[in-house]
Every structure is written in structure tokens, then in C-alpha cells.
């Protein structure tokens, strides 16, 4: 029981790292980026390739995955996404689905359709017993890394000048512009960091979530659930939503193996009907 809770926690943490970039871009520019999972997949594959072909140690791969996907995100944002912000939502959806299809087929073409395996360093393998609970060391590592990230992100958002600019831009882009905040730059930076985080999440999660070319499609729905349930106005909302989703998903798969996914979708639809702007949005934000 507690092991399930623990696994769910690790799963939820990874979901958060994967999805928080999406939450911010959606909240900031009202842009529905279904291709977010493609960045995560890119991070995962970068790790696999670096480890497999060049023998880079796993821990070094994580920052490289982050930087590489952040750069890719920034480049795509400046060249392609920037033209689409003022378009209707349907255009966002179509454009990013197109990107996903291309990414899936391209990865399939260059690297094959098989499941990729990441060989973890020996120090992160195995399980330990703590108070009678069996805990995977890697999951513990994931929770520690993601936990640290959450703290860092939250403090950047709460205590730095950039953070306050970002919050202002999320709350009301027009007024923020009027106050002299360069919303476009803020957004480009945030987009890059969000993509980078997705890449990092993909690298971290490859072991737990699995990694194959259909990754962006398989997990797109999970990211969207996190974002829609958690709301897009803060980091805590998506964080709580990811933990909830992670635990519910692991528990659902364990206790109701054939109905697990159904329960999650039903919950999502229920939440959206009850509170269309998310569970954890504060009143008056939108």
C-alpha cells in the first residue's frame, strides 16, 4: 500500500516536471501546445544516445538533456510558434498535432520503433527497506531531484524579479505590457525553460514511463489533465494535480487494472464540469 503511494509520488513528480512548462505557456500566452511531449521525448532520446553511443555518464546526461531541449524550444518558439499566438485555438491544436506526428515519424525513422532502455548507474539500482516499505533507490532519486526542482522553481517565481514579471504577465498580459514588462521576452525565456524541463523530465522518466516514438502521443493526455485540472495560474496547482494523478494512476492500475484509465478520464471530465478553470485556481484569477 505504502509502496504504491511511494511509486505514485515518484510518478507524479515526473509528471509535474514534464508538464509544468506546458502549464506556464498555456497560462501565459493562452497557447495550447500539444507538442510539449515531443520535447520530453527529445530529452529522453538525447540521454539514450549520449549514454549508448558516447558513454556519457547518466548524471551528466540530465543537464545536457535540459540544455539541448531548452535550446530547441527557444529556436522553435522564435521561428514558428511566435506567429501563432494570435490565432484561434484550433490552429494551435492542428499545428502542434502536426509537429507531434512529424516528431513521432522522424524518431521512428532514425532510431527505430523499439522501446529504448536506459542503463542506470549501479548506485541508483536496487531497492532498500525503510520502515518495512520497499523503496526503489531510483525512485527516491527522482523524488529528490524533482522535489528540489519544485522548490527552486517556486522560489524563482516567488522571490526574483523575473518571477514577479512572469506572474504579472500571466495574470494580465496587456496590463503587464503597459507597465513596461517585455512580455515577449519573458515568454520566450519561459518557453525555453519549460521545454528544457520537459526534456529533463523525459530523461528522468525514461526508466519509469518507458520511451518509444509514440511517447508524445501517449503522454499528451496526461500533461493536459495535469494542466486543466491544476489550472494554469500557479505552480502549486499543477504540482498537486500531478501528484494526485500519479498516485491515482498507479493505484488504479494496481487495484483496477482494466478500469484504471477510465477512472482517470472520468475524474478529469468531472473536475472540468465542476470547475472549468481547474481545481486549484484561486478565485478571480481569470
Amino acid at each position: 500500500m505504502l509502496t504504491i503511494l511511494f511509486d505514485g509520488l515518484a510518478y507524479g513528480m515526473i509528471l509535474f516536471v514534464l508538464a509544468c512548462g506546458l502549464a506556464v505557456t498555456l497560462g501565459l500566452m493562452n497557447f495550447i501546445n500539444l507538442a510539449h511531449g515531443a520535447f520530453a521525448m527529445a530529452g529522453g532520446y538525447i540521454t539514450v544516445l549520449l549514454m549508448g553511443r558516447l558513454g556519457v555518464p547518466f548524471l551528466w546526461c540530465l543537464p545536457i538533456a535540459f540544455l539541448a531541449t531548452a535550446l530547441a524550444g527557444a529556436a522553435l518558439e522564435r521561428t514558428l510558434y511566435v506567429h501563432l499566438y494570435s490565432r484561434p485555438h484550433l490552429d494551435h491544436v492542428l499545428f502542434t498535432i502536426g509537429l507531434v506526428l512529424m516528431a513521432v515519424a522522424a524518431v521512428d525513422y532514425f532510431l527505430g520503433a523499439q522501446q529504448q532502455i536506459i542503463r542506470l548507474p549501479a548506485a541508483l539500482q536496487g531497492r532498500i527497506e525503510v520502515l518495512g516499505i520497499s523503496i526503489g533507490i531510483y525512485r527516491l532519486f527522482v523524488i529528490a531531484v524533482c522535489g528540489a526542482l519544485v522548490v527552486v522553481l517556486q522560489s524563482i517565481l516567488a522571490f526574483t524579479r523575473f518571477g514577479s514579471r512572469l506572474r504579472a504577465a500571466v495574470d494580465d498580459p496587456r496590463v503587464a505590457r503597459g507597465l513596461g514588462i517585455d512580455v515577449n521576452t519573458v515568454f520566450a525565456l519561459t518557453f525555453a525553460v519549460g521545454s528544457g524541463l520537459a526534456g529533463l523530465g523525459g530523461a528522468l522518466g525514461a526508466e519509469i514511463l518507458g520511451l518509444d516514438p509514440t511517447f508524445p502521443l501517449k503522454f499528451m493526455i496526461y500533461f493536459l489533465i495535469v494542466v486543466t485540472v491544476g489550472g494554469t495560474t500557479s505552480i502549486t496547482g499543477p504540482f498537486l494535480a500531478s501528484i494526485l494523478l500519479g498516485v491515482a494512476d498507479v493505484a488504479g492500475k494496481y487495484y483496477l487494472p482494466k478500469l484504471g484509465a477510465f477512472v482517470i478520464y472520468a475524474l478529469m471530465v468531472g473536475v472540468l464540469l465542476w470547475r472549468p478553470h481547474g481545481l486549484f485556481t484561486h478565485r478571480g484569477a481569470r
Binding site: L26, I32, L80, H83, L84, R87, P88, H89, L90, D91, V93, L94, F95, I97, G98, L99, V100, L101, M102, A103, V104, A105, A106, D108, Y109, L217, I221, L224, I225, T228, K258, L259, A261, F262, Y265, A266, M268, V269, L272, L273, P276
Partner: protein, 319 residues
């Protein structure tokens, strides 16, 4: 309500194609089914402005309903089609209340969620639906007791095209009626539409139900002509594909879905022959380019063309 000259030409061409390319009948059958599916989404998106990423839900319900009816004794295709379409309409009516509230994003998520839930249900009750193995043992009787389904798709093709034509004419009647005009008003501005006395919610429920019935009919056609139903009918990519079809053809006029379906299937057929495994890449590229080039501009061009074609026979007041 007279047909324009070029509309006659369009349908005569559509009917002639199976005779001209007898080897391609199975493909033409697929095009007709996809066209009907896209037509149904067009009613929703193009005329009522409801975005949906889960339209496959109703396609799937229709397909399974038709398949199950045929498997358990009702082998007459037309009756099966009507019943399956009715089943999809019921599901559409019930879920229509979910899309009345919220923003575009909420609607996208809710429609997608409904389709995924149905997919899980179909997977769960594999005793009824066959689960991942698909629904097997579907045998169809002859259409109207006269035309047997054959291996080369001669009957299938004619049956699908005929269904498409009939349902298209009904859709044409619907969108040109006062009801259809009030839908456009709701699409344009819901608040103002309500202010001039259009019951917006009731209109949306009605068109959602109708669109679901159309999608169900398309699904039923697929189940009946291929005599097989798999979980694939409810899959996410089917909802995404039909959106792409509508984008290719242009939404907001009824021929958009039909033209888009032909383009999409021919492109898919051609690309799949060229690169069997990676055709999705090119589909994705087309999607990206279409959006970057400006979907609005494309459909505006189509609309201009439509207007010019529609004006030509003239001498009657515009509809």
C-alpha cells in the same frame, strides 16, 4: 433549394468514379465513409463553432452498434445503419451537455475525455466488444435484400456513396433552414444570438446530437462494409485525422469535408505506397504548413470559389 450545375457535376463525378476505377473501389468506399465523418464534424465545427478532439466517440459507438446488431441477428444493413446512427445520437445527446460550458480548451479536453472513456469501456467489456482482438463474426445480409456484399467492394462502394448522398442532402437542408442560420448566429456571437431570441444552448444540443448521428452513420458504414470492428474506431488519431480532413477541405461549407476526405485518403494512399511506415510525417508536415500558411486564407479562397460557382447560374435570389 435547387442544385447548382456544378453540384450535379460533382455528384455525377462521384458516382462515375467507381465505374472508371473498378480496382480502387475499396479506397473509394473509405473516402465516402471519411467524407461522411468529416461532414458530421463540419456541422459541429464549421456551422456551430464547437471544437472537438473526440469526435471518434460517436464514430466508434456507431461502428460497434452496427457490428453488434449484425452479429446478433439483424443483418439488414439499412436498418442496422439507422439503429446505429440512433445509438450514436443518444450518446451525443447525453454528452452534449458537457460541451455547453467552458472555454475552447475545456471543450477539447472534455470531448477527448469522453472518447477516451468510451475506448476504455470498449476495452474493458471485451466479452461484448472483443476488446483488443476486435469484434469478429460480423456477417451482413444483402442491402435492402437485393445487393450482396462482395469481395471487391462493388456493393460496399455504392452503398456508402448512396448513404453519403442522402445524408448530404439532409445536411444541406439543415444548414439552409432557419435552424442552420440560427446556428451560425450562435457561432458568430453567442451572447448576441441569445439576445435576439435564439436559444443558444438548445441549438447546440440539437446540432451536437445531429452531428453525433452522422458520425455514427459513418462508423456503421465502416463496420458493415468491412464486417469488422476494432478498438481503432475510437482511437485518438481518428479524431485528429478527421480534423485534418476538415482543415484540408476547409470548414464552414458542406463540400469541405468531402473534398478534404478525397485529398486526405489519396494522399495517404500515395504516401503509404511511397513510405509505408512514415507517411504520418508527411501528414504532419502538411498540417504544419497549412496552419502556417493560414487556414483562414485557404478557407477564404475556397469560400470565394464557392461564391463564384454558386453565383454563376444566378437569376434567383441568394439563399
Amino acid at each position: 433549394m435547387t442544385a447548382r450545375r456544378w453540384e450535379w457535376a460533382f455528384w455525377i463525378a462521384a458516382i462515375a468514379v467507381p465505374f472508371l476505377f473498378p480496382g480502387k473501389r475499396l479506397l473509394i468506399n473509405e473516402i465516402a465513409i471519411l467524407a461522411l465523418f468529416a461532414l458530421s464534424l463540419d456541422l459541429l465545427l464549421g456551422y456551430a463553432g464547437i471544437v472537438s478532439l473526440g469526435h471518434a466517440a460517436f464514430f466508434g459507438v456507431g461502428a460497434y452498434a452496427a457490428g453488434l446488431l449484425a452479429k446478433h441477428g439483424l443483418t439488414e444493413p439499412v436498418a442496422g445503419l439507422l439503429l446505429a446512427s440512433g445509438a450514436a445520437a443518444v450518446v451525443g445527446f447525453l454528452s452534449s451537455f458537457l460541451v455547453l460550458r467552458g472555454s475552447d480548451l475545456t471543450r477539447l479536453m472534455v470531448t477527448m475525455g469522453v472518447a477516451l472513456m468510451l475506448l476504455e469501456v470498449a476495452n474493458r467489456f471485451d466479452g461484448v466488444t472483443g476488446g483488443a482482438d476486435g469484434l469478429q463474426g460480423v456477417t451482413m445480409g444483402p442491402v435492402l435484400g437485393l445487393f450482396r456484399f462482395d469481395l471487391f467492394g462493388r456493393t460496399a462502394c455504392a452503398y456508402s456513396l448512396a448513404t453519403l448522398l442522402v445524408l448530404f442532402l439532409i445536411a444541406r437542408r439543415i444548414v439552409r433552414s432557419p435552424f442552420g442560420l440560427s446556428l451560425r448566429a450562435v457561432k458568430g456571437n453567442r451572447l448576441r444570438a441569445a439576445a435576439v431570441g435564439v436559444p443558444a444552448d438548445a441549438r447546440l444540443v440539437a446540432i451536437y446530437t445531429i452531428a453525433a448521428a452522422y458520425a455514427g452513420a459513418a462508423g456503421a458504414l465502416l463496420a458493415q462494409t468491412t464486417q469488422f470492428v476494432s478498438l481503432d474506431v475510437l482511437d485518438f488519431h481518428r479524431s485528429a485525422d478527421v480534423l485534418l480532413v476538415l482543415v484540408l477541405g476547409g470548414s464552414g461549407y458542406l463540400y469541405g469535408g468531402l473534398i478534404g476526405a478525397a485529398i486526405f485518403k489519396l494522399m495517404q494512399d500515395w504516401l503509404a505506397a511511397l513510405t509505408p511506415q512514415y507517411w504520418q510525417f508527411w501528414i504532419g508536415l502538411v498540417l504544419v504548413l497549412v496552419v502556417l500558411a493560414g487556414r483562414e486564407r485557404l478557407s477564404a479562397t475556397a469560400a470565394r470559389l464557392w461564391a463564384r460557382l454558386a453565383r454563376r447560374p444566378a437569376r434567383e435570389p441568394p439563399a
